[in-house]
Amino acid sequence: MPHLAEIREIIDESPDTRTFRLMFKDAGTAESFDFKAGQFAEYSAFGDGESTFCIASSPTRKDLIECSFKVYGKVTQSLQRLNVGDTIGIRGPYGNWFPLDELKGKNLLFIAGGIGLAPVRCVIENVLDKREDYKNVSIVYGARSVSDLIYKQEIREWKSRTDVSVIVTVDPGGETPGWDGEVGFVPAVIEKSAPTSENTAVILCGPPVMIKFTMPVLTNLGFKDEDVYTTLENRMKCGLGKCGRCNIGNVYVCKDGPVFTYAQIKKLPQEF
């Protein structure tokens, strides 16, 4: 049974991406709904079905649950038609999470592309709320064009802090006249900024092509596969390890994932 939640606020992040700020209808659920950074949930638009999105807000800020989604098909189009005050369903939290406790005392490098910032944002905010536990924090975020950048408000906030380094980039051709960030693909930007791999963990989320071209760059910079954390997004339905579509070999992404280190991913059958 999904929990019911009310849409409190809608933020248009980009022409095709939307964020919902959600409040559980039942106060008990709001209290007991406990999750960790990296977990996901199943959100229902009753009448059209369920869709899988990560929980984009940080567990350290529990008042409102947030999710951001790109409009693709049946369910996401249906969600897009909803207004503030409408009701949706939430099942979860499901899956594993980023091992933030283990990463204490390390430098953190966040790399995200496009909608991939959604799962990363949750971790970033979690880390920023416990800033003293971690050493240097840097963020590299890229999107196809300026209008495709999501979380512009949050990015501004991060940039205004002195204890975080933020690089935002858009693909060549995606810049606008007033654009003050970088221009270039994420892997190239990382190569240029050459972050240290010393005592550093990477949290990497984005489209498969970006991951494919970023990995060699990171390897060249000395990052080890087991220090790179990323998420896999297989088609999901149940989130409970039953419906059978999210598996990669004997790994159920909905249970054993979505967070994997690159070392783990390399060991999986290459079918994702």
């Binding site: 996401t76 009701t87 297989n234 339905k237 419906c243 059978g244 070999g249 079918e271």
Partner: protein
């Protein structure tokens, strides 16, 4: 769990009387027909033929229905109301289940109970009584003996029948559940002779072992990429006949369907990994984009992944998928070929 098997004898007439009583009590009585396990309305329908081949489909749909509502919703202006589904926990008695069917629910139990427990499955399963019947013939598709079972396996049965002669069966009480079920009918039972019915079981011809499942498991691990998959992918037509008739395939889809402007239900429907859109992402990316990858998933899931996860092969060797495949793809042959 260590229930001590009891050996009894029951005459065919008494067995039919027992069935009549089950029906009279309003329970569901299932027995193998031709295409499927049919609901018995009248005991004259009952054949109890140990030499019949497996029905085209199993009785899986009685624990895991082909399409079932899991919740109802009602929408008003901006509010939604959810209504629970009442799972009907009616007693279901399967009479004359094939040994390649009897263990299917036990195999499925792992999946439906790891981590999250599926209450729909569990409730139905609790009310199931399985009366197995020894199997006395096989065809070219049967391979129960290659997956650790056999035509005389009592595994999964609550009660097990062995034809002794034209009108008598040895009846073995295998589980506590079986004992509870048969208790009211003890007047029909006489003490049996275990040695005698064992002799019958031994005399049964069994399918030859076609492959060593441990070797298959190993080979699959080393041969995720292998040209053999491509050959199959060229011929297989991507339907789900094989998954839907299989007693242990369990994939499903969740969809909402409205039946009025403001009301509807969420359905849990059978689905299968051979369909192209099963794993299709909204972005258009598909991890198993071609049929060879999908068939590879089928074999791997059954003979490797499920074994790794739950310690059991996801296949009872019934041969249904092959018997029914429109292009005669034979899983026994394919798995036997899973070697260098």
């Amino acid at each position: 769990m260590s229930f001590k098997m009891e050996e009894k004898i029951i005459s065919k007439d008494d067995l039919l009387k027992l069935c009549g009583d089950v029906i009279a009590k309003g329970h569901t009585l299932l027995a193998p027909g031709i295409a499927e396990y049919e609901q018995v309305k009248d005991v004259s329908q009952i054949r109890l033929d140990s030499s019949a081949l497996p029905t085209k489909t199993s009785y899986k749909s009685y624990v895991f229905p082909k399409a079932e509502p899991i919740l109802y919703y009602k929408r008003s202006k901006s509010d939604v109301q959810l209504i629970d589904v009442d799972v009907n926990g009616k007693k279901i008695v399967v009479l004359g289940a094939k040994p390649c069917d009897t263990n299917s629910i036990n195999i499925l139990k792992h999946l439906f109970n790891w981590d999250y427990e599926d209450e729909f499955f569990n409730l139905r399963q609790k009310h199931f009584v399985i009366i197995g019947l020894m199997c006395s013939s096989f065809d070219e598709y049967c391979f129960c003996t290659s997956v650790g079972s056999s035509p005389v396996s009592e595994e999964g049965s609550d009660l097990f029948l062995i034809p002794i002669n034209e009108d008598k069966f040895a009846l073995r009480i295998i589980t506590e559940k079986g004992k509870e079920f048969i208790e009211p009918y003890s007047e029909f039972l006489k003490d049996g002779d275990e040695a005698k019915s064992n002799a019958v079981l031994e005399s049964i011809k069994k399918p030859e072992v076609a492959f060593d499942s441990k070797q298959v498991h190993e080979w699959l691990g080393d041969n995720f990429e292998n040209p053999k998959w491509e050959g199959i992918g060229n011929v297989c037509l991507s339907c789900a006949q094989c998954a839907f008739v299989c007693p242990v395939c369990h994939c499903f889809d969740l969809v909402d369907e409205d039946y009025s402007y403001s009301e509807g239900r969420r359905m849990k429907n059978w689905d299968g990994c051979q369909f192209g859109h099963f794993t299709l992402h909204a972005s258009g990316h598909n991890p198993r984009d071609i049929q060879s990858k999908r068939y590879r998933q089928r074999v791997n899931h059954k003979f490797r992944y499920y074994v790794d996860k739950f310690g059991e092969i996801l296949c009872t060797g019934c041969g249904r998928c092959s018997r029914g495949c429109p292009v005669s793809i034979d899983i026994k042959e394919i798995v036997s070929n899973c070697k260098d």
